[in-house]
């Protein structure tokens, strides 16, 4: 069973050619046969089948189908769903089941989506390879010896393998975009505040955004339209109007588009193979009538430094609630309060999470706060100013999603600093809070996927998706599924 995007599936469902039950049966079979790949942390077999039948009945009763009617969707395992386990791929949440739905889940349910399962990830979304998972790594669908990227590695692999039509991920510094680039799909991180974070387990609150992984831009836009918008449960969600994204996308033309090409995104160290594919994509846009504008942006190294100070600071506080006192893992070796805290957290968290908690605790400590946290906030403001200025001259900023192609499982696990550089091009958009997207543009000489990274101004998701759709068409990377 193959579909040319969701509209194809939808029309075949609404015409009666297919039923939700048939579609979900097919997806669940594929999920079952890919079980060795460790992509899902939980599969909602019975629930998804029951819901499919319920939706089929709804259609038969002549009721209006929702905007996501019958769409099979996978959810990253850090977004709360009532009655489902929530693990964040961490031992510390062992046995925990959420008692409430995240706002995004509520909104998608109201539009008749079907959730097929929860996807693997780096523990608490900390990582760029999906290797920091308590339940083990996920192979890249294009080369099983390599990583799918992270932290939303399971979500990316699920969409790439057509185990879900769309997957929700979360993106703090590139966790949706980088795995999308590694898995040859579209990965969208909206403007900070565009989508409610209520129900998303916080890693770094001022960076975290729920994002979308999809095979094509139209499906991503459709789901974005459903889940975006103000939520009274999230003080940081924006009141900004949610436009009709399909209309906005249709109005985007490459002719006369000003594409900003910052030197900072094409450093010497950029993998030549990747650079070649990315520049070929840029050339196609230029040939289609876009105007290339060289722009100056601050070096991304500063972004990485500021980013790792700020996100670890926030994480050290956000993860304090996992203390063994009320839910999740409590060390059997807890004779008193102090040992309950120390042992539960020592045994419950993985190495990378502990590293970041310690870094964050350090940078917030008395005497270091001004040197690190305050300074990093200042850097953040500089980036925001520079990016705002850049958008006075250009419509979109263009670069590679990752400085290198998907790397081998285990290759960077012993060198966290090198691993952190995987996010060097995706972190700036997270620092400034602007929307960004990774678009598949082709393959390197080893046949590994290469993604282009586009950044647009605040709340210009529609325009950005329109540009991305053109680019995907020009590069012929729209899959047939």
């Amino acid at each position: 069973m193959q579909f040319h995007g969701y509209q194809d599936l939808r029309s075949r469902l609404l015409s009666g050619e297919l039923t939700c039950e048939q579609v979900i049966t097919d997806y669940l079979q594929r999920i079952e046969s890919s079980r060795d790949d460790n992509i899902f942390t939980a599969v909602f077999h019975d629930e998804a089948m029951a819901r499919a039948r319920e939706l089929d009945n709804k259609l038969q009763r002549g009721e209006e189908p929702g905007k996501l009617f019958g769409m099979p969707i996978a959810i990253k395992d850090n977004i709360s769903m009532k009655g489902a386990p929530l693990s964040c791929a961490s031992k510390i949440l062992a046995g925990y089941e959420s008692v409430y739905d995240a706002t995004v889940i509520e909104r998608m349910l109201a539009e008749d989506a079907i959730f097929v399962g929860r996807t693997n990830m780096d523990e608490f979304a900390m990582g760029s390879s999906n290797e920091n998972s308590a339940i083990g790594p996920v192979p890249n669908p294009y080369d099983k010896t390599r990583v799918p990227g992270g932290s939303s590695g399971g979500s990316a692999a699920a969409v790439a393998g057509d185990l879900a039509m769309v997957a929700l991920g979360s993106d703090t510094g590139g966790s949706v975009r980088q795995p999308a680039g590694f898995c040859n799909i579209v990965g969208l991180k909206p403007t900070y505040g565009r989508i409610s974070r209520y129900g998303l387990v916080a890693f770094a609150s001022s960076f975290d955004q729920i994002g979308l992984l999809a095979a094509n831009c139209d499906d991503a836009a459709l789901v974005l339209g459903v889940i975006a918008g103000k939520d009274e449960h999230d003080a940081t969600s924006s009141h900004h109007d949610v436009p009709e994204y399909d209309t906005t996308m249709d109005h985007v033309s490459i002719e006369g588009l000003r594409i900003g090409v910052p030197r900072a995104f094409f450093p010497e160290s950029l993998n030549a193979d990747v650079a070649g594919v990315v520049k070929a994509g840029l050339k196609k846009l230029e040939e289609a009538g876009a105007e290339l504008v060289e722009i100056d942006l601050p070096e991304s190294d500063y972004a990485i430094a500021a980013y790792y100070i700020l996100v670890t600071a926030e994480a050290s506080s956000n993860l304090a609630r996992f203390d063994g006192a009320r839910y999740g893992y409590r060390s059997p070796d807890s004779p008193d309060l102090s040992s309950m805290y120390v042992n539960s957290r020592t045994e419950g968290f993985g190495a990378e999470v502990k590293r970041r908690i310690m870094l964050g605790t350090y940078v917030l400590s008395a005497g270091y706060y001004d040197t690190y946290y305050k300074k990093a906030q200042q850097v953040r403001r500089v980036f925001q100013d520079k990016y705002r200025e850049a958008f006075e001259k250009v419509d979109v900023i263009f670069g590679p999603t990752s400085p290198f192609p998907p790397f081998g499982i285990g290759d960077k696990m012993d060198n966290p600093l090198e691993m952190y550089l995987a996010d060097v091009f995706t972190v700036p958009a997270s620092i400034v809070g602007m929307p960004a997207i990774s678009v598949p543009v082709g393959f390197d000489s080893l046949g590994l996927p290469v993604g282009v990274h586009l950044i647009c101004n605040f709340f210009e998701e529609g325009k950005m998706l329109g540009i991305a759709r053109h680019l995907q068409t020009l590069c012929q990377t729209v899959p047939s599924n």
């Binding site: 709360s80 008692v99 409430y100 003080a235 506080s317 917030l364």
Partner: protein
């Protein structure tokens, strides 16, 4: 050497909002453990706080009432520490940019009046409760988690325990007048920590201070400060030094003791809470809050004197609490007699409240009914003595004073015939006293009045009794 006590207070005032500071849970007390909870105050993964707008309004009101500068832009911060009754592992508070700063509280004591300066007032949330007295385990009640508090921090401007207590009472009066807290110290709605130090009189530097916690009444605040200052002086006089530490007041042993073991040098790692947006106070809110400020006690007392002509002392007593002052004014509205209303409220009403441990809002007699009672007296329908009986009966049901007088047959008798008849009986029965009176013992007049009133069960019009008795005695 003579020493001077230096005291600064940190007061936590629990606001009486319907819902908690950062979620929709009820903020009311007295529910069974862990029932006023939701994903937010339980700190379940993924839950986010959203600030209750009422909390900001209450903070602005208290800031305005104490002459603070109101920050148009302030920041909620996280105070990080691990404790089982703190589910998030941090408390949401304010640190670098509080909502109110640099205010003043005017305090009166027997020794005179004084302006105590405020450093700041900031918003924060309460923690839960650890329960240690059930078996060997510790239990947690999360109901109180997230209940809104205002923390009011004074400068070390107080010099006696009486001033500290007066400051606290003044603060309590203000929050109650504003209607933002019940201000109850015993129940913990008003909690006070005192920073105490001593220094030689005339010195300009402060001594080393200790922080005293766990004082749950005004009396205990005074006692604890006095005890602690005396302890400081003894240590210093004995050649020792004061250790800066937190000490607990023990109200049974009447002493402070060191909280050793809990006294780590905490690094709370404050930073702005990234889940919350800056607290903004715009012109509109400032205007609205100014409009909503009540008439404060001093202004109200002055108005009672000028407008109603009651003594300044009475006006002071009646305005101590806003509810009492409201009660008095409502009584007066009906009775039309300020002095009588004031006497009744300060007399019978306050006596009853004290005897029955009631707050004025729990009192059974509405001001409308009390006003009606006063009107009956002034109309000559009942005497003051009978009115006191009616007052007691009015506490038992909702009937109007008129209905009670009617039902109980308490109406005043002004019928001269009936009064003459009973006086005649009394004179007949007390021949000896009558002779004594007629032979010059004039003070026996009162005896006959008393006998008569007794005979007529207090219902006789005293003026009529006087007139008739006089003429009959002369007779």
């Amino acid at each position: 050497m003579n020493y001077e006590i230096v005291v600064g207070l940190e007061v936590h005032c629990q606001l009486n909002t319907e819902s908690k500071a950062f979620c929709g849970c009820s903020a009311k007390f007295g529910k069974s453990a862990n029932t006023n909870v939701c994903p937010v105050c339980l700190a379940l993964p993924g839950a986010l706080p959203v600030l209750n707008a009422r909390v900001v309004e209450d903070a602005v009101k208290l800031g305005l009432a104490t002459g603070c500068t109101i920050a148009r832009h302030s920041i909620l911060a996280r105070k990080n520490y691990f404790y089982p009754d703190l589910p998030k592992g941090y408390q949401i508070s304010q640190y670098e940019e509080p909502i109110c700063s640099e205010g003043m509280l005017h305090v009166e004591t027997d020794e005179g009046s004084k302006d105590v300066r405020l450093v700041r007032i900031h918003i924060e949330e309460d923690a839960g409760k650890s329960i240690h007295d059930i078996g060997d385990d510790t239990y947690i009640d999360v109901n109180r988690c997230g209940v809104p508090l205002l923390e009011i921090v004074s400068y070390p401007d107080m010099r006696t325990s009486k001033e500290a207590s007066a400051y606290l009472q003044k603060l309590r009066q203000i929050v109650k007048y504003l209607g933002i807290s019940d201000g109850n110290m015993e129940e913990g709605s008003l909690r006070c920590d005192a920073n105490v130090s001593v220094r030689p009189v005339g010195a300009t530097e402060y001594g080393t201070r200790t922080e005293i916690k766990n004082m749950n009444s005004f009396r205990n605040v005074e006692r604890a400060i006095e005890y602690e200052a005396k302890r400081h002086i003894e240590v210093i006089e004995g050649g020792g030094v004061i250790v800066q530490e937190t000490r607990l007041w023990d109200a049974d042993k009447l002493e402070t003791r060191s909280m050793r073991g809990k006294e780590h040098a905490h690094d709370y790692r404050y930073f702005p809470d990234p889940d919350l947006v800056p607290v903004l106070v715009d012109d509109g809110m400032m205007h609205r809050m100014r409009e909503e400020l009540p008439e404060f006690p001093e202004d109200r007392a002055a108005r009672f004197v000028s407008e109603f002509g009651i003594p300044a002392y009475d006006a002071g007593v009646l305005t101590v609490e806003r509810e009492l002052a409201d009660y008095f004014e409502a009584t007066l509205n009906v009775s039309g007699d300020a002095k009588a209303s004031s006497n009744w409220v300060m007399g019978e009403v306050m006596r009853t409240l004290k005897e029955k441990y009631l707050d004025i809002h729990e009192f059974a007699i509405s001001p409308e009914r009390l006003g009606g009672l006063i009107k009956l007296i002034n109309a000559g329908a009942i005497s003051n003595t009978i009115a006191k009986q009616v007052f007691e009966l009015m506490q038992e049901d909702e009937a109007t004073p008129e209905a009670i007088v009617e039902r109980e047959g308490l109406a005043q008798v002004s019928d001269t015939g009936a009064i003459e008849a009973s006086i005649k009986e009394i004179l007949d029965a007390n021949q000896k006293q009558l002779e004594q009176y007629r032979s010059g013992k004039a003070q026996l007049f009162g005896f006959f009045v008393g006998q008569c009133m007794q005979k007529m069960k207090g219902k006789a019009n005293p003026k009529v009794v006087n007139d008739i008795l006089k003429s009959m005695l002369e007779g």
